[in-house]
């Protein structure tokens, strides 16, 4: 009996030092009427429309209190959405497809970036203007993105083996320093940083060459779609109004972002340029007609095709337009 007691005390004491202590009684409960929107990255004008919605009261007008949670390099979006900590997360079609394949009950309920922001950035002296130019080049990218490059090659009949992949951090320095010929990156960040430094990068948007993967998608669980429809509708309604304002004046969105997050280390001019650069990715004839966030059946079909190339087979069930339709009906 004594032995037993000792073990139990040791057990509890150790637990107190370990992870258990941090997890005991720590269910992040939110006040009624408050929902979390889990962003996919650190605060920046990338989420400018949401900041406008927040600051102009597009959510509070509807009685909804939205808290915007930043992401980071070690902050995947899917866990908080699955666990209900966040009502909606900003993901991307390929990430969502992977999560669904792992059993997460997600639906894409709206799409911020109709066009995927992935791009190949290079310098004018040695430019990559179309996929064919990649052959014989050294490309710097995260190895994790290899399927993305492979898909682009397949879509454009480029010999993948003729490209030398150099694993790099997500950083423009290797290109500028001449360690690589081009970079796989988002059109809206590293090229913007290079432009701000007085360089004049050539940016080849992969979406212009058949790489159809929606990005900055709004995801929610099936449970939320069934039981929290009201909040979802209110949240997206606010988003749509916020992003409409953003479209009208990107400079104002950039200024608001810098003002709202003085500790984020944001540079106003960089934010203004980034805000402008993401307009063509987010707004198109489709959004002009249906409003921000809309996606067509045609877009879904293209995504299914590209996702299959990325080894992430999905069906149209991944998408759910009912929230957007409800907003437009109302």
């Amino acid at each position: 009996m004594k032995r037993n007691a000792l073990t139990r005390r040791g057990f509890l004491a150790t637990g107190a030092g370990g992870v258990l202590a941090t997890s005991l009684g720590l269910h992040p409960a939110l006040a009624a009427g408050t929902v979390n929107l889990q962003l996919s990255w650190l605060h920046s004008v990338q989420f400018g429309g949401s900041y406008i919605a927040k600051s102009k009261g597009y959510w509070s007008d509807q009685g909804l209190d939205v808290s915007l949670t930043p992401g980071g390099p070690n902050a995947p979006v899917e866990p908080p959405v699955v666990s209900g900590t966040a009502l909606v997360g900003i993901s991307a079609a390929d990430y969502t497809a992977a999560a669904v394949a792992q059993g997460a009950p997600f639906k894409i309920i709206a799409v911020a970036m109709q066009k995927n922001p992935f791009a190949i950035a290079s310098l004018p002296a040695n430019p990559v203007r179309e996929p064919k130019d990649l052959e014989g080049k050294k490309i710097g990218m995260a190895l994790a993105n290899t399927p993305v490059l492979k898909a682009l090659c397949t879509l454009n009949d480029v010999n993948f083996d003729a490209i030398e992949v150099v694993p790099t951090q997500y950083d423009a320095a290797p290109l500028v320093a001449g360690q690589v010929d081009c970079l796989l990156c988002w059109a809206t960040d590293l090229p913007v940083a290079m432009t701000m430094k007085g360089l004049d990068p050539v940016t080849m948007l992969m979406a212009d060459f058949g790489y159809a993967v929606q990005s900055q998608t709004y995801i929610a669980t099936e449970d939320s779609l069934a039981n929290s429809r009201k909040e979802l509708v209110e949240l997206l309604r606010g988003e749509i109004r916020g992003w409409a304002d953003y479209h009208k004046d990107t400079d104002a969105a950039a200024e608001l972002t810098v003002k709202m997050f003085p500790d984020a280390g944001l540079d106003l001019e960089t934010q203004k340029l980034q805000a402008k650069r993401q307009v063509p990715l987010m707004f198109s004839d489709v959004t002009d007609e249906h409003g921000f966030g809309w996606f067509t059946d045609e877009s879904i079909a293209e995504n299914i095709k590209t996702l299959a190339l990325l080894d992430k087979p999905v069906t149209a069930d991944l998408w759910d337009r009912s929230i957007l339709e409800e907003i437009h009906a109302g």
Binding site: T14, V19, T22, A144, D171
Partner: protein, 527 residues
Amino acid sequence: MILSPARWRRPRTDWLRSIATALVALIAWEALARALAGTYLIAGPLEIASYLSDHAGLILRATGWTALAAAGGYVIGNLTAIALAAVAILIPGAARLISSLALIVFCLPLVATGPILRVLWGPGLGPQVTLAALAVYFTTFLPLQVGLRAAPPNWFDLVRSYGRGGWTALVEVRAMAALPYLIAGLQIAAPAAFLGALVGEFTGAERGMGVLTIRAMRSLDVAGTWSLATIAAAVSMLAHAGIGWLWRRLDDAPPPLILASLPDARTDRRWATRLNLILVVLVVIALWWLSMEFAGLNRFFAKRPDDIWAFLVTASGAADHRTTLFAALGQTLSLALPGYALGLALGLGLAIALLMLPALARAIMPLAVALRAIPIVITAPLVVVAMGRGATGTITITAVMTFFPTFIACYQGLKRTPAALIDLFESYAATRWERLTLVQFPAMLPAFFSAARMAVPAAILATTTAEWLATGHGIGGLMALTASTSDYGMLWSSVVLLALVAVAAYAAIERIERAVLRRYGAEQLVR
């Protein structure tokens, strides 16, 4: 045994020499930065100074937030360590279990714990504080374990002779005997807490130095990156030096560095060892399961032991999973092992070289102590920039992480050879080489092994962090990838495997240590 050198306050000339060394280093740095201008790789001291003065407010606030989280974690982690060590002393039967669990938790990779902590804590400082606490508790717990036993047996006999028990012995004897060891732990913990807080910010923080670092690296802001690295290094060094200073105010003796592992009275009782192993495994599985269930974490990302068993053994793709996992582990180990060995060899080598060249040592030591304090997350990208993204870069980072603690421990160990033994050699006018090989080197071995043991988790952390942040190879890269593909089965399997490898490596070093010290340090094993 703790041996205090006769003089521990350094004379002023040594400080002047250190300042001179630092100046030379600064000038070389500036020159290198100027030579590489336009490549966006290195920012010189002047550029950093101007950046800091332009962004003083921002940097100050960010440093404040990160330091706040680090301080919180530092206090919590160290109090936990003290409580654990006290329990391990008061309940001797639980000591081994507690040590094993403490080691396992310490070996959990940051990449994996971060997202879970964020889900648990929600927005705010929670994950940063927790990761800081996790980063410090072990380096305090370990020396304390030794320190609490570092009193002569007759002191305990004294307590017993007055009919008092373990508690009195803990308060009256052990606590005081352990104090220098506690300080040594607290000193190492200060930079570690800062590192934990920085990495914690990668899990989605609103503000802090980690946030700014990510931003600066992505916007080609070399001055910003280097400024942040400089500040992080400075804060870590100040914390490290501050605790040292505080200790010198309290006591004249320097904190001990000879941290031998606990002599195990029951090594010959193999069944006890096996029983403990089984107990540890059971307790770990139970803790893992219970904590997940208690916190109500979704199985999608918070896998349970049976999920991992299925993923690696019974599921249809299990063989493929194992292949992927072990291939990645092999890749990681093929870099971690050479880096670790290189770090140990360089640390030992430089310590010996400096012992032979005392004038140089006096100039370099304070710098080395300071450099030890620079957090890995900051150094990793810089080393990769300098050494390239291939194997060399990763090996270098691992070697650097292993090098500093080994170097300092070995140097102090060499210097702490009992004065009487040095006198003996002097009386025969023995050569410096004889003195080194016959006395100082064997006398240093306990310090070397304690550093080698502590460097195991550090080396694995360094390699996986480099893979995670820079190369994308190996198990670090695999873990980063699994987060984007929601392959949490793979992530948890990696965590389990890495923790197992770390614990096994630690135990292996401990075995070698015991064997060597049985030969070379019977008296030096702390009772």
